[in-house]
Symmetry: C2
């Protein structure tokens, strides 16, 4: 029942030695998803021990190089590693056309099916991916080009029956199945056993909101309300607010205000400008508005536990 | 009077943790040239302390991703670093069209002039770059797509006058200039002083031949004859010869045979398949044919001294 984000890169457009271009990996119940794919993502996957063949789908926020340039090499490497199972890439238009043109010039023929699912980056809450255990919906971001954030959220899990009742009353499979399906049942002696008293949900749905490149936006706050973990770009310090505005980015303070407004549990910063040699000032600034802020770094692994506690490990 | 190659990446198409995609930097008399530009080249430049703004021109051997995918990000990073001075990229067709299409999709507008010089990868010895101190000519390689190697060679340096003669005879600037221009002169007492006895060349031209992806080819051997340093791909061990043939590559043994045939001074191997965990067997194999073989590695710096001695440093 893992719910874990690994940050592969935390740099904005110009990388530094310690900060690679943007890419995150989300592990939801051992299904792996890549979110954005900056140059060097395949090296970072190697570095942090994540097998590219495990990736089920890729979510691209927008067509700027620092979020995309790793995809060409990664798709080829997956082919060389023997991938046969299909891969879906979710991205704003014209990602499909761009990739098709690229494949033409480089004579790329992938040995596995590739599905491109283009999203409308202006719409909020559109489900772009769904599985038995979780959904992905769109978050409209405000950037210089169409830019889409993604909200990953577990579905409500099925009901479990309290083990002490199963054992105490000697419940049979039929009675257990009824309760799990939300129907009251009867004990052998005719006494009713209700769903309310006999069952529980193993966990409350956990969620991760990914907001790559954006100016501060009320719509973003609305879309990510109550998330366990909000990744919100913080390219600049607030003293460079004018620059943030000009380039369609946010300051750490602005990211923290969105986190507070949206009442999320934790905020993760990232997408730092190369101008900042140390990142502590960005963290300090954000924490004046929102204390549960964490500095994203290459190799940071954030696990949201079943009880919603956050475990932080730097690898 | 530097003549130095730095290997930024030595991997073939599928990289490993220790081996990045192909890119070399050549420093000729403090003019810097990038040769091929695999994904992650801009990180490797950072890692090895080479300022991208110093690069005068880029030479691309062919349109396979492991030799090209780093160019998109590098061009943008140069822009962000404030590059204003022009950059030339030498590459086989249709590099220009490919880059133009790419720029269109990503709305790239570089603030510096970019000149694309397309070369015919089938022709040998065509000068594609020239400066006062050196020339670059084509080496036709044999690969699955048009593929061009490059021979970097210093021009014959000007004549110097022996210092002990300048001092001993008290030569004046006019006499020195005549000798440097290859004209005999006379001493004050009327005794002739010939160019042959009074002058010397400070060094013999040094050369570096770059052969990225190729099956073994007699034409390559002809083109690189007598080079100080031949970089020749050695993707496979000779036991995997059939695979090399099928994919348009060479084995270490075949690379060494070309080196011997071409009578070069030193052979550098590279472009290794990810299947080989250790590279010593490739080196051993090559040395059975050509003893002056060196294993290329990420971060290996090869300096050809003025006396043609080779200095090897791993950074």
């Amino acid at each position: 029942m893992t719910f874990q984000v690994t940050i592969l890169g935390c740099s904005s457009a110009r990388p530094t030695l310690a900060r690679h271009h943007t890419a995150h990996v989300l592990n939801v119940h051992e299904q792996f998803f890549l979110i954005d794919c900056g140059e060097g993502t395949q090296y970072q996957l190697l570095r942090y021990g994540i097998n590219p063949l495990k990736i089920n789908a890729v979510f691209i926020s927008h067509l700027h190089g620092d979020h995309v340039y790793g995809i060409f090499g990664l798709l080829s490497t997956m082919a060389m590693m023997g991938r046969q199972r299909g891969l879906t890439i979710v991205a704003p238009r014209p990602f499909g056309e761009m990739l098709g043109s690229h494949f033409g010039f480089f004579a790329v023929e992938l040995p596995y099916p590739l599905e491109i699912k283009e999203v409308d980056a202006r719409e909020a809450g559109v489900e772009v991916w769904g599985s038995r255990v979780f959904t992905v919906t769109t978050i409209p971001l405000r950037h210089r080009v169409p830019c889409c954030g993604y909200l990953f959220r577990e579905r409500e899990p099925g009901l479990n029956v309290h083990r002490h009742l199963v054992e105490g009353y000697g419940l049979d499979p039929e009675q257990i199945a009824a309760l799990k399906q939300g129907r009251d049942t009867c004990l052998a002696n005719g006494v009713p056993l209700t769903v309310a008293e006999a069952t529980y949900r193993p966990y409350e749905p956990r969620s991760y909101a990914y907001c790559s490149d954006t100016t501060p936006s009320g719509k973003v706050a609305d879309s990510v309300r109550g998330a366990d973990l909000l990744y919100h770009e913080s390219t600049y310090l607030h003293q460079d607010k004018a620059l943030a505005e000009k380039t369609g980015h946010s300051t750490a303070l602005q990211a923290a205000r969105i986190a507070r407004k949206a009442d999320v549990r934790h905020l993760v910063l990232g997408h730092y400008s190369a101008r900042y040699k140390t990142l502590d000032p960005l963290l300090e600034e954000a924490r004046t508005e929102f204390s549960d802020t964490i500095l994203g770094h290459d190799g940071l692994v954030l696990t949201v536990e079943k009880d919603h506690a956050l475990k932080i490990v730097q690898i």
